[in-house]
Amino acid sequence: MEEVISQRLIVSVSPHIRAKEDVRAIMFDVVFALSPALAASIIFFGWRALLVISVSIFSSIASEFFWQRLWGKKVTVGDLSSVVTGMLLAFVLPPSSPLWMVAIGAFVAIILGKQIFGGLGYNPFNPALVARAVLLASWPVYMTTWTRPFDGVTTASPLGIVKMELDQRLPSYLEMFLGNRAGCLGEISVLALLIGALYLLYRKQITWHIPLSYIGTVGLVCFLFERDPLFNIMAGGLILGAFFMATDMVTSPLTRKGKLVFGVGCGLLTVLIRFTGGFPEGVCYSILIMNMLTPIIDKMTEPKVFGS
């Protein structure tokens, strides 16, 4: 008996075992799931794509590190969330983005998008999209300069061609599926994004609710208003947004019902902006607007207690 009492036993509330998965493991899964799209961006836009992505990731980590040091807070760069933010930000920038703008964007994402609200878990908006919105308002020319894959010749984005009714060839479905078209770094290859998305679904880091309701709504509205649904699903940032941005845990609703509402809302806003707004693309703003509604969606979709 003495041998036990003589040392310290841990006395804590149950459960006494915990799942191995922590926040870092979740973030690692997301990074892993984004890597096919990263590879696609290098294939289609060359090594400059990797440079933009690296600058974005590095600036995100550095912003988080120095901000937390500055305020004497626990440094949490080890949780990899700033890596995810850096990757996602680079993925929503044009391949020709100047590197200084990328670095400013990363700073905005981490500090204005996340840290000023208290860090990971407290940010109301998707940090990468906050940065994209700020950059689009600040440097609209850089943010809307598109280049063709492989040869880097300046061109219009597929959605831009439709919006401005330009006399340019639209990419075929197959080209869009593989990623051979102008667009943001990470959004071009539907195939690469779907591979990553399947991985996240398999690992249960996201559920089907938001992507399916989001993409389904866009497809359905396009069908009803006689626009090409498949083109609208593949041409812009919808696949990237629906699987990797709208599903951001911190800024989307908690319940499955809420996630469906959120996805439908994103879908409606996206087509509204694309078809009637001033911009050819609406994924970024629609997700940011729905982020704003997340608390109220949570409130309205509280689950019913078992048996009631």
Partner: protein
């Protein structure tokens, strides 16, 4: 393969049942001393009817039940009462206990009443036997069984479910009982069905206990009116309301009892205890307990007398392996961490889990991954409750139904930020009640 019964939510922790499931069911040597708490059940403690210096025999009544929701306690040894005083209890506080020193003879009381032909007894007589035998639910909650067997006037019971899920990791005592006492357990089920006048009996077993399932399938060929339900391996499959939902597709409303949907659920060990009490007149003085974990030399299941100190049971299993960091009464998901091995085995102790390494976690910020909500078998929002508990906003806490939480621990188990959600919810329950 036919579809397995289950419920929505839940988690899949590692089970570690192989530590003990292959070992034979043994019997602990008689201890030199037992400590019998007067409160080993949910409800009012028993009133002691012996005094220091009294000689007692095995099976002798030493504490009377005090009211309807209360139970008697019996001596689990023959010997002398050496003290009646508060003693460390597995539930945390020191509680009044009768301490008996063994005379080494294990002499039983002579007036055990045997009812071979229990089917002649009325429900009232059977209930009285169950109550007088001190039988509480042996699955862990230790609710007095006779109360469960007393449906209110307007309540029709049609089904009795025996709970042999044993979904807690590490524990295998119910599994062992089903293997070695399947007939007696089925007889216990018949007795319960007779008490509550139910036509259907079901034994629910998780699919991982394949040997017990094939054994029961065989036995049940001769038992019309009793069925086997094989359930998906998932925690907390053995939660009473979720077992009913899985097997019968009936949902017990919040704050209601299984009786309200026409069902009685008892643990398989409880059914065996009922059978022993009715057919052999033996009160509840022993149970099977799983002694297991990385910190014990010979993990195994043992029949042990109630009141045996954990330390004696550990010695019987070859002693400790290194220095334990955590000792748990029960399983790792819902069991209670102990600060000493000097606590006695009580009616509800299904396991003694000794962990040589226990992880401690520092709590992070919620990233709203909603995993706790997805796994909650009662559809609560654990992280939302915890968040309001942290703000001490008790009015709001109450709105999120913390009282429907059964503290199964699935939420805290799965939380990637390692937030002790059960701890917050328990705190919330306390504070929200006070005001």
């Amino acid at each position: 393969m036919k579809r397995l019964f289950t419920f929505k939510g839940g988690v899949h922790p590692p089970y570690f049942k192989e530590l003990t499931s292959g070992q034979p069911l043994g019997r602990a040597s008689l201890p030199k001393k037992v400590v019998i708490p007067l409160s080993q059940h949910t409800g009012k403690p028993a009133k002691p009817i012996v005094q220091t210096g009294d000689k007692v025999k095995t099976g002798q009544l030493i504490g009377e039940s005090d009211g309807f929701i209360s139970l008697p306690v019996h001596s689990s040894l023959s010997g002398e009462v050496i003290d009646i005083k508060p003693w460390p209890h597995p539930l945390g506080h020191a509680l009044p206990s009768v301490i008996i020193e063994s005379d080494g003879r294990d002499e039983w009381v002579s007036d055990l009443i045997v009812h071979e032909d229990y089917f002649r007894l009325s429900p009232e007589e059977l209930r009285e036997i169950v109550k007088n035998a001190g039988i509480a639910g042996l699955g862990g909650a230790a609710f007095p069984t006779h109360v469960k067997l007393t449906p209110p006037e307007n309540c029709e019971i049609d089904t009795v479910i025996l709970n042999g899920c044993e979904c807690e990791p590490y524990l295998t005592c119910d599994h062992k009982l089903m293997l070695e006492y399947s007939r007696e357990i089925l007889e216990g089920l018949r007795i319960i069905m007779q008490v509550v006048d139910a036509d259907l009996g079901i034994i629910g077993v998780e699919a991982n206990k394949t040997d017990a399932i094939s054994l029961l399938e065989n036995e049940l060929r001769r038992e019309p009116g009793i069925q086997l339900a094989v359930l998906k391996v998932k925690y907390p499959q053995g939660a009473e309301k979720h077992l009913i939902d899985a097997v019968l597709n009936r949902r017990v409303p919040p704050g209601k009892l299984p009786l309200d949907v026409g069902v009685v659920v008892d643990n398989v060990g409880t059914a065996l205890a009922i059978r022993q009490a009715v057919k052999r007149g033996i009160p509840l003085i022993e149970r099977v307990v799983t002694i297991t974990g990385s910190g014990i030399k010979q993990p195994q299941n043992l029949w042990a007398r109630l009141g045996t100190l954990f330390t004696d049971l550990v010695s019987h299993c070859g002693g400790l392996l290194g220095n334990p960091e955590k000792i748990i009464a029960g399983g790792p998901m819902m069991g209670i961490a102990q600060y000493t091995l000097d606590v006695p085995l009580i009616k509800g102790t299904s396991g003694i889990l000794i962990l040589s390494e226990a992880e401690t976690f520092s709590e992070g910020d919620c990233i709203r991954c909603s995993k706790c909500i997805d796994v909650c078998p009662v559809n609560l929002m654990p992280t939302v409750i915890a968040q309001h508990v942290k703000q001490k906003d008790w009015e709001v806490v109450r709105k999120y139904s913390p009282y429907d939480c059964m503290e199964c621990g699935a939420c805290a188990y799965v939380c990637p930020a390692k937030i002790p959600l059960v701890q917050y919810i328990k705190w919330g329950k306390e504070e929200a009640r006070e005001k």
